[in-house]
């Protein structure tokens, strides 16, 4: 059940009513959430009805035991068990795809969230919850199941205890986010994919260098609108229940440097890598400064490999890790943050960063290294023809670029306008958006790109 399909929204509306009617009793609300979570997983495959409760129960018990034990050796054994369980889930789904219990969706986002719980308790950054139901409902919270945002359970669990009703502002914002996410995904991302990007990455040698370059630019924005569209729907779905999930994007292609990019792109993932992987690697406190650089490369390489067992992801991870390490070295060398001054410098820095990221995206998107090489070779072939770039594609790409770089105050203004509108105007606006999606989106919804990770 993709988050962009009518079936999901029927499910969401039914769940919304059931949740708020049962919400006056904390147990009732959580029971409804848990039922919805498992219903959502079961729609993908019934095997999850066994797998998820089992894994969640293990982590819950590990959390309780960690909370009660002060013996380092016991605590280390417990957290190791949790790591083995959750990393085993990630690795088995990603690297053993031909097992008979082949799973239609990856469990890595579930596992990442579950690990935040046991690792935070192990580090004494959080307390375990005593409520089994609260833990089960939080660990498998359905809006974050497919592709995040990776939510620290220590931040999610307390939100179930809130007693207040959803405010009109929050409700309006939730509806706006869902509508915006659908437009991003169905009107922009899927259109860009269908009308050039997929073709160019399938058979790059069939297209001119200019077309391939346009396709690569298109992919950069397709990926952003696909993933941020998903995130908006996930954030909006959670907010309909009064639950606030962390932001995942902040206009990433305006980044001034590669570190800035990772503060704006897939923020929950980069925070996870930083907090739970980078800081855990050995050597950071060593006098040998090389570890500070090496660990960046290792972290991003592992982050790349998390996307799949493919050389392309390895290269993508090493590319970003090296970029981060070189930037760190440059900052150390200059003794200050390498922030550009002046508007022209800002634009130049953004363009350089964007194109650095763009080269990474070629490897990220290509089916294999040979295809990535073909894409690069075509771009540098110097052949110019736009026969396969339709005016409609160019317009959608231009809208995508302009919307991305539009000032945030414009976005905030639209949200305020929508929130202050009466309910019937909001309903009419969403209906109009639905009609626009029906007529503008020429394809049936494609799976979200990040749902396969």
């Amino acid at each position: 059940m993709l988050l962009s399909t009518p079936a999901y929204f029927v499910f969401l509306v039914g769940f919304f009513f059931a949740y708020w009617m049962a919400r006056r009793y904390r147990f009732g609300g959580l029971a409804i959430v848990l039922f919805a979570n498992y219903f959502f997983y079961a729609r993908w495959d019934l095997i999850y009805l066994a797998l998820i409760p089992l894994a969640s129960s293990c982590d819950y018990l590990v959390g309780l035991a960690l909370g009660r034990s002060n013996k380092p050796i016991v605590r280390r054994a417990l957290v190791t068990a949790s790591l083995a369980l959750n990393l085993g889930l990630i690795l088995s789904v990603k690297y053993l795809p031909h097992l008979p219990w082949l799973l239609p969706i990856g469990l890595s986002f579930y596992a990442f969230q579950a690990l935040t719980y046991t690792l935070d308790i192990y580090r004494r950054d959080a307390e375990p919850t005593s409520s089994y139901l609260t833990y089960l409902a939080s660990a498998s919270f359905f809006p974050t199941t497919l592709a995040g945002p990776i939510t620290r359970l220590a931040n999610l669990i307390p939100q179930w205890s809130k007693r207040e009703v959803l405010s009109p502002e929050e409700g309006s914002r939730a509806l706006f986010l869902i509508g915006l996410g659908l437009v991003k995904k169905l009107v922009i991302a899927d259109y860009l994919a269908e009308h050039l990007v997929n073709r160019v990455f399938d058979l790059p040698k069939l297209y001119s260098g200019a077309e391939v370059l346009t396709g690569v630019y298109g992919y950069a924005f397709q990926l952003y609108y696909d993933f941020s569209g998903y995130t908006d729907i996930a954030l909006g779905s959670a907010l309909l229940l009064g639950i606030k999930l962390p932001a995942n994007f902040n206009r990433p292609y305006t980044a001034q440097n590669i570190a800035d990019f990772w503060r704006r792109w897939h923020i929950s993932f980069s925070n996870w890598l930083r907090d739970y992987l980078y800081f855990s690697l050995p050597g950071l406190r060593s006098r040998t400064k090389i570890f500070a650089y090496l660990n960046l490369v290792i972290t991003m390489t592992l982050g790349g490999l998390w996307h799949g067992a493919n050389w392309t992801f390895l290269i993508w991870g090493v590319w970003h890790g090296t970029g981060l390490a070189v930037q760190r070295w440059w900052q150390v060398l200059r003794g200050k943050r390498a922030e550009p001054a002046g508007k022209t410098s800002h634009v130049f820095a953004s363009l350089v960063t964007f194109h650095f990221v763009l080269i990474g995206w070629i490897f990220f998107r290509a089916a294999n290294v040979g295809t990535a090489r073909d894409v690069l070779a075509q771009i540098f072939s110097g052949t110019i023809s736009f026969a396969n770039v339709t005016p409609a594609f160019a317009i959608v790409l231009a809208i995508a670029i302009l919307a991305h770089f539009a000032p945030t105050r414009w976005y905030d203004g639209v949200v305020r306008l929508f929130s202050s509108a009466p309910y019937y105007a909001q309903a009419a606006a969403i209906a109009a958006a639905t009609l626009a999606i029906q007529y503008a989106a020429s394809t049936s919804p494609a799976p979200f790109i990040y749902s396969r990770f």
Binding site: A7, G14, M21, P168, T434
Partner: protein, 450 residues
Amino acid sequence: MLPPKTTLAIVTFAALMVLLNFTKFARPIAANGVVDFQPRLGSIPEAAAVRPAPAGSLHQPRGIVKRNLIDEHGSLTSFYQALWRTESKVPGAVTRILHYGDSPVTADSITADARSLFQEHFGDAGHGFILIAKPWAWYGHRGVEVSGKGWRMEPASQARAHDGLHGLGGVSFQANTGASSHFILDEPHTRIEIDYERQPGRGRLAVRAEGRPIGEIETDGPAKEPGFLAFALPPGAQTVDLSVEQGPVRLFGVSFERDAPGVIYNSLGLNGGQVQVVVRYFDKVQWAEQLQHQRPDLVVLNYGTNESIFADYIERYYAGELREVIGRVKTAVPNASILVMSPMDRGQRASSGRITTVPTIPRLVEIQRQVAAEMGCAFFNTFEAMGGEGTMARWYDNQPRLVSADFTHPLPGGARKVGVLLDQALETGYRHYKAGQQRQVAQDRGAGRP
């Protein structure tokens, strides 16, 4: 308690959508499937995704070997005879196939797989014809790396040569002093043959193998005429260079061959290739000379995909132009078998979002079948063999995908399927032919006939 404003907004939105659906402004929203507990992203089993048409029975009417390979007139007999000689390892028995087609053939898709299967079963007599350089980045030939610089390339389907001389492969290459080509072979071959144009005022070409000179070609001549010159390659040589020592020079291609019985499967694709390109832009006389020089046992005419977007042209002119192309081949090489190979399925995205077959494809395939029968040629229905209508939709949904996102160009897995289907159809036909011949010989012997 329900949040009032958000609840009202949702209920009003639902009511509006019901109203819009009722008044037909909105398209129906398929909200069913909420309780459909089926995986959505799981792999579609390949067998289900690629549905080949059923194979014909062994008791089909004479001349029809397999439903998708129709040979009512026994047109493939001379090809089968050549294959038999090759299979029997008769010295010098090389079976030569010329496969003309459009963009997939340009990239040696389909043909590379058919070639490797034929050569695996009947022997490898070499890579065959290769263009002098890459007119399209997409051009390729499995097992040979080709690169060139300094050539003015004139494909018949695009920047065509004004005199219509496009050689066997449909591309003319002209260059001045300093131009060169470099070939790297995956395995050593015994011979290279250069296909060039001799004409007054032309220059000289040097040929090197592994960096050492093996010959020169003087392309100057009293009149315009085709030139073919072969050179023995040193044992073990895997790299060959051509360089224009004195320009101008005009070439059409090279052929790599082995001294062994086997199959040479020439891949002769043109990006944007159509029968009308052959009719209008291939010089009739020069193409005939090129075909005659090759002495093919089978000529495959595999066009149709590019024509499929011109519905009116298909109805009014296609049959006539296909007849013209077949007629030219028959006149040039009357002993060769001719196989008209239909295009693959071609998909398009309908307004409903579904991928459907381009409506002209079945009609075009039917015209090809009729013309082939009328002209005494064999016909291979690729479209039906790969699964008929909707195949590209299934190929697109398959994991891994078998067709590109343009629903036209097969990805390697799809190309291999088509190559295998073609090889299977022809080899099945050959086995039937051989069995029939052997039965006949046995009957003749039993009847005491010599």
